[in-house]
């Protein structure tokens, strides 16, 4: 206090809360007053948040399914000694199929292998000129999901010690490809999410700046009468928060709607492949997180817009 020597009045309890309630409600009524601009902003924010959110939901729910599928495609190839008789190979296959870690064993005879290779375009000609069949008899061992989860190395070693087995190869190609693909998808999602989040914050900031522009005189008078920057800023920060929060809620509705619309066709598709996969709508915690992100983005966007503007408006 510069000019006043008298004691300050006692600060009533709940002042902080009252201040924030005032700013929050003022922002809400300002929004309700500027319906169209506010609505457009909310929709833009909603779309910007819904896109990465929907992709995130899709990715998180399908990753497990895809891992299961890739696991089914992971096999161990047992190359038997050339000249192993089919009966011996089939006997070995039955023996291995009885192991706990093994789900199924397929026997591929050299004849079948040659036919398969011929079917592949580029190999037909060179193979025709070969007199002998170059393919060894082969057992394809599919591990159980549990064995797959523990890692295929021990099983492969055990298989390699069997009599008549010349070579063992673990075909993890699909699982590896899938993991690589998922990693790329996660990165893309992250980059997309960050870019769209920034866009949402900027859109909110711009809307708040326009509100601010229309209230120049009020802001100027508040500053002249000794309103602090925080006091003057607060309603606009809440406006940003409301815009972000509403945008996030609409985004959540969009994602839930998209999941709802996709659920039946996806279930039918899964059934055609013999699975029972179904898309689940995002949960409450998930919606709360999205709302939090939206509110935070709105607040941040408003903060950036308001700060620059207020500094410019007060010379002292």
């Amino acid at each position: 206090m510069t000019a006043g020597a008298r004691p300050r009045p006692r600060r009533p309890r709940g002042r902080w809360l009252r201040e924030h309630r005032r700013a929050c409600l003022a922002a809400w009524s300002a929004l309700a007053g500027a319906r169209l601009a506010g609505l457009m902003t909310v929709l833009v924010v909603a779309v910007a948040l819904a896109l990465p959110a929907a992709l995130g939901v899709l990715l998180s729910q399908t990753a497990g399914l895809a891992r299961g599928l890739a696991g089914e495609l992971s096999r161990i190839a047992l190359f038997l000694e050339p000249g192993t008789r089919p009966e011996a190979a089939r006997a070995l296959a039955e023996r291995v199929a009885a192991w706990a870690e093994v789900a199924a064993v397929d026997y591929v005879s050299p004849k079948q292998a040659l036919a398969e290779a011929r079917r592949l375009a580029g190999l037909a000609e060179p193979l025709r000129v070969l007199e002998d069949n170059p393919f060894p008899p082969l057992l394809l061992v599919s591990p159980t999901p549990e064995a797959l989860a523990r890692g295929l190395e021990p099983l492969a070693r055990r298989l390699g010690r069997l009599p008549g087995v010349e070579d063992v190869q673990v075909e993890l190609v699909w699982a590896e490809r899938l993991e690589a693909f998922l990693e790329v998808a996660r990165r893309v999602l992250l980059i997309l999410g960050l870019a769209l989040a920034a866009a949402a914050a900027l859109v909110v900031g711009n809307t708040v700046r326009l509100t601010l522009e229309g209230r120049r005189e009020e802001i100027a008078v508040m500053r002249l009468l000794g309103g602090t920057e925080a006091y003057v800023r607060r309603p606009y920060l809440y406006e940003g928060l409301w815009l972000g929060l509403l945008g996030a809620m609409v985004a959540w509705a969009l994602v839930a709607g998209a999941v709802w619309a996709l659920a039946a066709p996806v279930a039918r598709l899964a059934a055609l492949y013999g699975g029972s996969f179904s898309l689940r709508p995002p949960g409450v915690a998930w919606g709360a997180a999205l709302a939090g992100v939206g509110a935070l983005l709105g607040w941040a966007g408003a903060w950036l817009a308001v700060r620059a503007q207020l500094r410019r408006m007060d010379p002292a």
């Binding site: 510069t2 000019a3 006043g4 020597a5 009533p12 009020e218 002249l224 009468l225 000794g226 006091y231």
Partner: protein
């Protein structure tokens, strides 16, 4: 405890960005509880001087001291508190047109944020009664006459009971009877111990009251004197 002087200006100069000098080497002292006029032609720098004291602008040279505190050492975050401690009546009125009379007058208390809703109601009522606007609480400024609007501005300036009141052309476009009434209000505040600084370009107003007068001319303080009361001024 009262400070030795309420306002001190030491060689104060102000040059607006891109403009010419509004004040040059202005030095004076105003004691606590004094009633002082600032006069001079339009553009002489009266408003600028008041704005420097209220810290709405910063001087480009010299030093302003208010209630013993040097304003050039006041950090940015303490500027609002300084402004809130002063009552200021603006030349342009600066009432908020969308707000009622009550809300306009309550604004400084809301900004200070240290009064309860009940205290605010009591203080706003008291201030409006003092300026004779008790029945106009719910009006918007546009529904009021020029004199009434001016009085709303005064109520807003004194609602938080400042020790220093700065009035910039408070009788600007009012008829003499109305102007006299407004000056009566300032005298009442002065009698209650408030330091009052009134900027006016109208010498007849000063002659009717008499007192200490600072005269500015093209940004320079050319006179600091006691003017006698002249009877029979309209």
């Amino acid at each position: 405890m009262q400070p030795a002087s309420m306002i001190e200006c030491h060689g104060v100069g102000k040059r607006y960005p891109g403009g010419r000098e509004a004040l040059r080497e202005v030095s004076f002292r105003v004691g606590p509880g004094e009633f002082v006029f600032v006069t001079g032609h339009s553009g002489a720098g009266k408003s600028t001087l008041l704005k420097l004291v209220a810290l709405l602008e910063r001087p480009t040279s010299g030093r302003v001291v208010v209630a013993g505190r040097s304003l050039d050492r006041l950090p940015r975050r303490e500027v609002p508190a300084h402004r809130r401690a002063i009552g200021m009546i603006f030349q342009e009125g600066r009432l908020l047109p969308e707000r009622t009379v009550y809300e306009n007058v309550a604004l400084p208390l809301e900004l200070a944020g240290c009064w309860s809703a009940r205290e605010i109601r009591h203080r706003v009522r008291t201030a409006l009664e003092r300026v004779g606007l008790a029945g106009k609480e719910r009006c918007r400024p546009v529904e009021l006459s020029g004199g009434e609007q001016q009085r709303v501005g005064i109520a807003r300036a004194v609602v938080h009971r400042p020790r220093l009141l700065l009035a910039d052309e408070p009788t600007g476009n009012l008829d003499p009877a109305m102007a006299w009434e407004i000056m009566g209000l300032f005298l009442a505040f002065h009698r209650a111990g408030v330091t009052v600084l009134v900027a006016t370009h109208d010498p007849s107003l000063i002659r009717r009251l008499g007192g200490r007068v600072l005269t500015l001319q093209e940004g320079q303080l050319v006179d600091d004197a006691w003017w006698p009361v002249v009877e029979g001024v309209p």
